[in-house]
């Protein structure tokens, strides 16, 4: 190692002389994260139902990702900062594909922005809808609480989502099937991560056990909504592009029983949280936390409806 090749290493990292200023040719490469979402709607599939179903799955992922991303720089150690960011990134990636697919199959679901706005559809859906138009379950939107609450919520959410995505790999919509195939690998890791932490906290110290019990009790009443079949999901199942969430209940319960048994924990004996005017998150009726979450998430985008980012 000699000083005379010191400068060349520097050049190598920044791409050589000319390209040091121009940052190389890759600078304006198009974003290919959404490649493939434009496939036509299959015959026999109701486009509006498909779009709404995509919004349900996409909003669950987007909102849960938002909460998990709030752990960044706040986690118990650096390894967990990285792990929770990974889960948040996976879910954000799923959300982007699902929102983009919703916009393709039914442009009517996309909020109308001022003429000339360059905002892409996925962002119009994420940043320009109000709470009542979001279709996520209420489970994912509450504030994080301590690490045990986050672990408990991730366990319930990932267990259910994995069961749904596994079936969705056979969706009549090839785009949903492809999104699900990618998502299965990711969410299997999320479930495993949450389950390991559940066991670790339950068998760690008295304090961690007390906290994981409290964490499960806090999120448990919100699980019913995950498995309740809405009319859109009934249509999705009937038309072969989606999954009736009630049909995965047995599998979900079996997985949760296994994790609880390994943790030496009982199922919380708590009634489900009540509905609002006969509806819940899937109907756009959320908790008080949702408005604040969206206010933060949407503040910059809404201030610049003609902005490019």
């Amino acid at each position: 190692m000699h000083d005379d090749d010191h400068q060349s290493v520097y050049d190598g990292l920044t791409g050589g002389d000319e390209s040091r200023w121009a940052f190389g040719a890759g600078l304006e490469a198009p974003d290919d994260a959404l490649a493939g979402v434009g496939a036509p709607v299959p015959v026999g599939v109701d486009p509006h139902a498909l779009a709404t179903y995509c919004l349900m799955l996409g909003d669950d992922a987007l909102v849960h990702s938002h909460r998990l991303s709030q752990w960044c720089s706040n986690a118990p150690d650096l390894e967990e900062d990285i792990a929770l960011a990974n889960v948040a990134l996976d879910l954000l990636g799923q959300a982007r594909l699902l929102l983009a697919r919703a916009a393709v199959v039914d442009p009517g679901v996309v909020p109308v922005l001022p003429a000339g706005s360059p905002v892409p559809d996925e962002d119009a859906l994420a940043f320009f809808r109000d709470a009542a138009e979001f279709r996520n379950v209420r489970l994912v939107e509450g504030e994080n609480g301590d690490f045990a609450v986050t672990v408990a919520r991730m366990l319930l959410f990932a267990t259910h989502r994995l069961a749904v995505l596994q079936r969705l790999t056979a969706s009549a919509d090839p785009v949903l099937a492809a999104i699900a195939a990618k998502g299965v690998k990711e969410v299997a890791y999320h479930r495993d991560h949450a389950a390991r932490w559940c066991v670790t906290l339950a068998l760690g110290t008295e304090e961690s056990r007390r906290r994981v019990v409290a964490g499960l009790e806090r999120v448990w009443p919100f699980r019913d909504e995950l498995s309740r079949t809405t009319p859109v999901e009934a249509t999705a199942a009937a038309q072969g592009f989606g999954v009736d969430p009630g049909s995965v209940s047995d599998e979900v319960e079996a997985v949760l029983d296994q994790v609880l048994a390994a943790s030496g924990l009982e199922r919380p004996a708590l009634p489900p949280v009540g509905e609002v005017a006969g509806g819940a998150g899937r109907d756009g009726r959320h908790t008080e936390a949702m408005g604040l979450l969206l206010a933060e998430m949407q503040v910059v985008a809404r201030a610049h409806p003609l902005g490019r980012w």
Partner: protein, 312 residues
């Protein structure tokens, strides 16, 4: 081996520009200097997660949100490699974290400035990561092996982050008048603090000479600052922003840009703890560390229990 022979072997290794490895003999002062520098670098990565991380939940596009989250995650990863490099010298991450939150070890003063608009995410990538690259690329050849190898990976990722930051600003400059104003305002705020990242002028840098003699540091502060300015001026032109320095101009005779000096009194104040965010950054880190203590204790207790079960 006699002490003289050990010193001679150590100095010969340095003179050949070879690496010193964890099991090699090294002077205590060398060990302490490497620990100080690497710990400071690790702390900078971890504290640096805060100012940008604050914008993850507000990022105005899902693509930028993903990019930003991945970047802040990379910083956590850099912190991990660097703490590991320190651990090869017998200092644990827990000890270093204690020193950070007690204010006994420092981190880069740039992170004591606030992020006030989303443009700051781009400006930090472009200017702050750009300055970090100038500082860090020579460190890929630093004499302490584990540090040098960590730096190779870190520099590649920092280079990627710089590109992403520049690309964000370039995109915003093609947007609305409000967005262009936001970018310029952000560059105005970060330009001088970015120049301060190279440390005080050479004449006032007490540790530089010894660190260079030991091959820990390979360029002086002023040399690196010049390199950064020369690299950045054409990029600013391409972006269409003005760098806020009336003395900045090309000097054909020197083949470099002339430029003004940052406010070194401000720098000294920030280093002493009087910057706009010093207390906030340390409080945030302390809170995360203390709030997570029960989780780390539980994980250790669980691991110990597993080992007992395997043993019995």
């Amino acid at each position: 081996m006699t002490d003289e022979a050990r010193v001679a072997e150590f100095e010969a290794t340095i003179a050949r520009h070879d690496r010193i490895e964890p099991r090699d003999w090294m002077p205590e002062a060398y060990r302490a200097t490497v620990v100080r520098q690497v710990a400071q670098h690790a702390h900078s990565e971890v504290i640096g997660m805060q100012p940008e991380g604050a914008w993850i939940t507000r990022a105005p596009s899902l693509r930028r949100k993903a990019t930003l989250l991945a970047k802040v995650q990379d910083e956590a990863g850099h912190g991990l490699y660097l703490y590991s490099a320190c651990e090869t010298l017998g200092v644990s991450r827990a000890q270093l974290t204690e020193k950070l939150i007690e204010g006994r070890q420092k981190y880069s003063s740039i992170f004591n400035y606030p992020t006030l608009s989303f443009a700051d995410v781009g400006t930090i990538g472009w200017l702050v990561d750009g300055a970090a690259i100038c500082n860090q690329v020579p460190l890929c050849r630093t004499s302490y092996g584990p540090y040098g190898r960590a730096m190779i990976r870190i520099c590649k990722e920092e280079s990627f982050h710089q590109r992403q930051g520049f690309e964000l600003l370039l995109t915003m400059m093609r947007g609305t008048d409000e967005q262009r104003a936001m970018v310029q305002e952000s560059v105005d705020r970060f330009w001088w603090p970015a120049l301060m990242m190279f440390g005080p002028p050479d004449a006032e840098s007490p540790n530089t000479a010894q660190s260079m003699a030991w091959g820990i540091k390979r360029d002086t502060n002023d040399e690196l600052r010049q390199k950064f300015v020369d690299m950045t001026v054409p990029q600013a032109e391409r972006l269409g922003v003005t760098l806020p320095d009336p003395d900045l101009r090309w000097n054909a005779e020197r083949g470099h840009h002339d430029f003004g000096q940052p406010d070194w009194d401000e720098f000294a104040t920030v280093v002493r703890g009087g910057g706009p965010c010093n207390a906030q950054r340390i409080d945030h880190r302390r809170r995360a560390h203390e709030d997570g203590a029960w989780v780390r204790t539980a994980a250790s207790a669980f691991a110990a229990r597993q080992r007992e079960e395997v043993a019995s």
